[in-house]
Symmetry: D2
Subunit: 286 residues, 4 copies
Amino acid sequence: MKFTICSSLYYNISSASTVLCSISCSETPYQKISNESLTVNRPVTRSDLSVGLDGNRFTKLQTDEPGDLQIQYSALVETSPRSVPANELSNRRDSTLDAVALPYLFPSRYAPADRMRAVAMDLFGNIQGDFNIAMAVEDWLFNHITYEAGSSDEQSWALDTLETRTGVCRDFAHLGIAFCRALTIPARYCTVYSYQLEPQDFHAVFEVYIGGSWYVIDGTRKAPLNGMIRIATGRDASDAAVATLFGGVKGQGIAVDVQLASNQNEAFNPVTREALMADGKAFFLS
Amino acid sequence: MKFTICSSLYYNISSASTVLCSISCSETPYQKISNESLTVNRPVTRSDLSVGLDGNRFTKLQTDEPGDLQIQYSALVETSPRSVPANELSNRRDSTLDAVALPYLFPSRYAPADRMRAVAMDLFGNIQGDFNIAMAVEDWLFNHITYEAGSSDEQSWALDTLETRTGVCRDFAHLGIAFCRALTIPARYCTVYSYQLEPQDFHAVFEVYIGGSWYVIDGTRKAPLNGMIRIATGRDASDAAVATLFGGVKGQGIAVDVQLASNQNEAFNPVTREALMADGKAFFLS
Amino acid sequence: MKFTICSSLYYNISSASTVLCSISCSETPYQKISNESLTVNRPVTRSDLSVGLDGNRFTKLQTDEPGDLQIQYSALVETSPRSVPANELSNRRDSTLDAVALPYLFPSRYAPADRMRAVAMDLFGNIQGDFNIAMAVEDWLFNHITYEAGSSDEQSWALDTLETRTGVCRDFAHLGIAFCRALTIPARYCTVYSYQLEPQDFHAVFEVYIGGSWYVIDGTRKAPLNGMIRIATGRDASDAAVATLFGGVKGQGIAVDVQLASNQNEAFNPVTREALMADGKAFFLS
Amino acid sequence: MKFTICSSLYYNISSASTVLCSISCSETPYQKISNESLTVNRPVTRSDLSVGLDGNRFTKLQTDEPGDLQIQYSALVETSPRSVPANELSNRRDSTLDAVALPYLFPSRYAPADRMRAVAMDLFGNIQGDFNIAMAVEDWLFNHITYEAGSSDEQSWALDTLETRTGVCRDFAHLGIAFCRALTIPARYCTVYSYQLEPQDFHAVFEVYIGGSWYVIDGTRKAPLNGMIRIATGRDASDAAVATLFGGVKGQGIAVDVQLASNQNEAFNPVTREALMADGKAFFLS
């Protein structure tokens, strides 16, 4: 599928400031970018950085001049999400500890897996196979956590979500990651643009590493699994924040718009987790 | 200086187990390794991994067979720690946000800098220059935290150390890292072998990124700054644990022995932080 | 001084509900009530309770009928706050552990003194005399905690205030209580009506037990110490909440109005902590 | 039944110290004390206090003289525990909010019910009737929390037990109390001597207030319900600690011995919760 993406970040600058943002799509075997631009509404000092384990694309903007700052990103992205039969994965119990996945097994700021072993074992300890555990985690998130806009803040971590049973997409992802790592399944955080997400916004999901590949999971079930366009991955939101602010700058809002590219003939058939399962499939995105 | 290093990890295996250890020294511009070996007292499946942002050297050992497992590491390492004049750094206020240092500005599991901004500002907010802030953090750690063996565990984080005012080297490092990041100074965790550390053990310190280089800080002041041999670095102890255990394996103890190489003519002059400062120097290791 | 007090609580009832409120002034040797009424804008089942160690006055209102509920309290209260010379208290180190004060030495929900010993010792451990410690605590609160409306919620406890250095009157009181108890000074929470508090609202302060008497402390310094009219006391806000809600009821707001009684000849001279100290006095209210 | 109780507390005094202990049995309608003594192995300043809402019996011992201190308590106590038919309670949904029970509905230091509402609702929200909820809480504690000596410390609270799924009697009680209060059932902490507890020690249970009476619950199921002799009650362990120490004093151990009085003809039939339920009974002790 081809999607057109347009997103904007709005700030007010009062004194010397740096905005570090991560809103550009990533290039992957399943995702090709064309016609991309990131523009700013006035002169700033700009540099593009490749950051961290996954080479996330950050843009750093610096300015001393007070006033409004608007960052606008647009791209045309073609995605080819692939699914694999669930039964190829379902009995797999991975113990390879691949070097590439190891950092995603360790506890992180918002996914403190080391403090969730007892709860994870109590809830999921009797389930066999990494894929089945991951699916049970997704079920649990969807059934026990209430999605509520504004119910958490940027310091909320998985223990808060476990306590309050309430959160936004970021919190569903962090709790899922923490459960999986606690059960020795590498898991990472992923920010995405998401087609048909209501209301339109940046979205966060997580990925589990099974049999050498990463599989996407969205415990909120708020958007089609085949409409996601990847921005960045990391251990948790600390690695993949949409924007981090330094100095005299304040956020004024964001806007996101994801559309099907107008010139494509294909119709979009939204794929839900239930449909995938009914079809014997596990979803695949990397 | 040349040091001979010998360290051992002892385990008891009751069922299928994986031991992931990080006890091999790292190769850096200031540290050259020779005569290195890592041996195990019985047949295991072994692989050597390069993990994470800093290419930490991990060894993965897998075995199904019950019994004792002993891992022994030895190496001859030549270090050439360098110091720079403090006044070259002291007024520097860094805002470059280099890509290589950015991940070390973000909060991590044991160094939740995002929750320490108010305290860090209250304690250090009126100090000018990144180097001066870092030195003030070191002073504060030494003067306000009591070193006490056994006072913390592997889940302890910087907020615990701030609360109890007690910890071990790992805790001093985490609290120092969290303070520095909260004040926008990139900081990372570092495990080292340490000459003249009493009692002999693995040691943990932290490094701050100022003006494009990493400088080592040890708030415990328990070992000479010029007797450290680097093992691994990371965001915090989650990245650089000496050993992580999976399956039916239990730790039985460790042994560390760091000596001056017998064939060298040089005498060892222990360098303390006070001596460095008196000499107008900031210590340098990377 | 004589004060007229009028306060109102506004609720919306959607289904069977109980409102438990504590807005009636307490009768003490230094506070006499007359012309008191607590009225409700429609029929409810009502009972007046004397609750807890200090016989706090609670009113319990029950209704099944949906709609608006308004509770209005008014009273004329004459207070005679007394001060004592600070030097009578300043060197006192109390170790009597009176039965009446003991429960206020134990940790409570929002004032977990058992977790604040190390910080309290670090900040105040070198000060001699219970009164001097209490005054140093007041100073510290005023100088290190920023008053900010809306910065905390009803689950915030003293550790949060210590972390964020921000709070409202309730948080100043909880942190002060926790510090004092950690240093073996009994301390309790107190809700008051407060003349010249801006904006008009319920107010919270704390009291320390020295030499057999309770002394009021207000780390916010937002209101005159001689304009407070006591409502309730307790270990912390859990004992003395203005209102606790059960069932289908939602708060819609409050209103508080404290005035000097119009028929009195005396002028009101606001007494601040600085003025008291300058005058060699410690304030007294119980 | 008649029990002879003997308990000892051992301390070492290095400088001026106060020991506040609560090891004397309480007099209740269901518990009569005779032949009671509390003796100390050397001269101290002693006073007996009645503390808090429930008039707990505390003994305060003060001494300046270094050396060993031994406190010995002995008593002969006759208990007459009563059970009531469970069906008298099982559908009861209490909303009376009696003044005497209200303080036990509020959150406390180790039972922060205000932070456990979501979890309590998730686990027990569909159960009807206060008695049935309380029984489900007891079941959950027994089935999901592992009793492990030494697994917690005196700062552990219900959120820790929920996280680690491990604790001692104190922790089972605190978690049970927090769940019940979160579901609007008043609950209080209770220290007891306990016949046939293995190994012999002080024991902690909790009580729920249903239909105007307090019912004892022991989620550990480690001791017969009809072999408990009450010492003290309170909101949580902060009110009813066996001993609280001030000054230069260190604990050296305790000893507890509970026996059936030798001169009684009755045989002791241990009553378990399962047996009570099978018999259609709810146990009663106050």
